[in-house]
Amino acid sequence: MHDLFTGKYAAFIGPAFAITAVTFVAMIASSLAHARRWRRRYEELAAAKDAQTEPRP
């Protein structure tokens, strides 16, 4: 590992690992955000529907 990011091929190895790390972070973040966003939206709509169907006093 000693000269992996400073040796002769560092200009290729560093970006390869950096791009892979960024891609994985993006995949994780977008997947979690997508699921959370739509779950929240569903819960808001379900609550609105419940409020709509409640009998008025």
Binding site: M1, L4, F12, M27, S31, H34, R36, Y42
Partner: protein, 242 residues
């Protein structure tokens, strides 16, 4: 009737299963990646490739996953098209962006390895070109689905496109045998056993399993997101009707 695990056939059971399975599989992926990266970074430099052999530990699993994800998407599309299974359609839709990301990674990391080893960022050889076509199939699938407002039409059109794209997979896999390519032939899964020394094979297989587990966890999360989206759209429709 194709027998399917109960959780795949029933959205409620799938949601209950994926709620605990996704973080568990994700944790397994992290543990495998840590072990794979540790062994990969401490492996000796290759006599021909030098330190660039380290790129293989992230490039080869990405290339494997680019095809594996498409196979998953193809099976899900088939089930959605033939059996009109809503969860299978959600699974196909959820797999596409992940497959595109793995294929993009395979192309970029391959290019970063190719420049110092081949002296070129890109060559139009059969393997590279067929993987680029695979990447374009993922993009076309996502664009097609996004362009159609009608969910049923989008599902059917996307499934047909995904099934057509399956034709490309044997081309990707056997391109190095069918044509004279700059890209090397199979060196891990081949007749007569792997050509790799265990010092490289072990971290490579660990990283392959880590990528597969990561895909499994993220796929479950994205399918959950698709189920919530469809539920939200149905709830919005019910609310609008009063």
């Amino acid at each position: 009737m194709i027998p399917a695990p109960a959780f795949l056939a029933n959205p409620e059971r799938f949601m209950a299963f994926s709620r605990w399975a996704a973080p568990l599989i994700g944790a397994i992926a992290v543990a495998l990646a840590v072990a794979g990266l540790w062994l990969g970074f401490t492996a000796p430099e290759d006599y021909q490739q030098g330190a660039t052999v380290k790129i293989m530990f992230i490039h080869v699993p990405a290339a494997w996953l680019s095809m594996f994800v498409y196979v998953c998407m193809g099976i899900a599309s088939f089930l959605a098209l033939v059996f009109r299974h809503a969860l299978a359609d959600a699974a196909a839709q959820a797999a596409a962006p992940l497959g595109a990301a793995f294929t993009g990674l395979a192309l970029i990391t391959g290019s970063l390895w190719g420049r110092p080893m081949w002296g070129a960022w890109w060559v139009w050889d059969a393997r590279l070109t067929s993987v680029l076509v695979l990447f374009l199939f993922y993009l076309a699938y996502m664009a097609l689905r996004a362009s159609l407002d009608d969910e049923t039409k989008a599902s059917r059109a996307g499934a047909i496109l995904a099934l057509v794209g399956l034709i490309n997979l044997p081309v990707v896999h056997w391109s190095v045998n069918w044509w004279n390519t700059l890209h090397q032939g199979a060196s891990v899964f081949r007749k007569g056993g792997s050509a790799l020394d265990p010092v490289y094979l072990t971290p490579l297989l660990l990283m392959g399993l880590a990528y597969t587990a990561a895909f499994g966890a993220l796929w479950l999360v994205r399918i959950r997101g698709e189920v919530w989206r469809r539920r939200a759209e149905a709830a919005a429709l019910r609310l609008a009707r009063g």
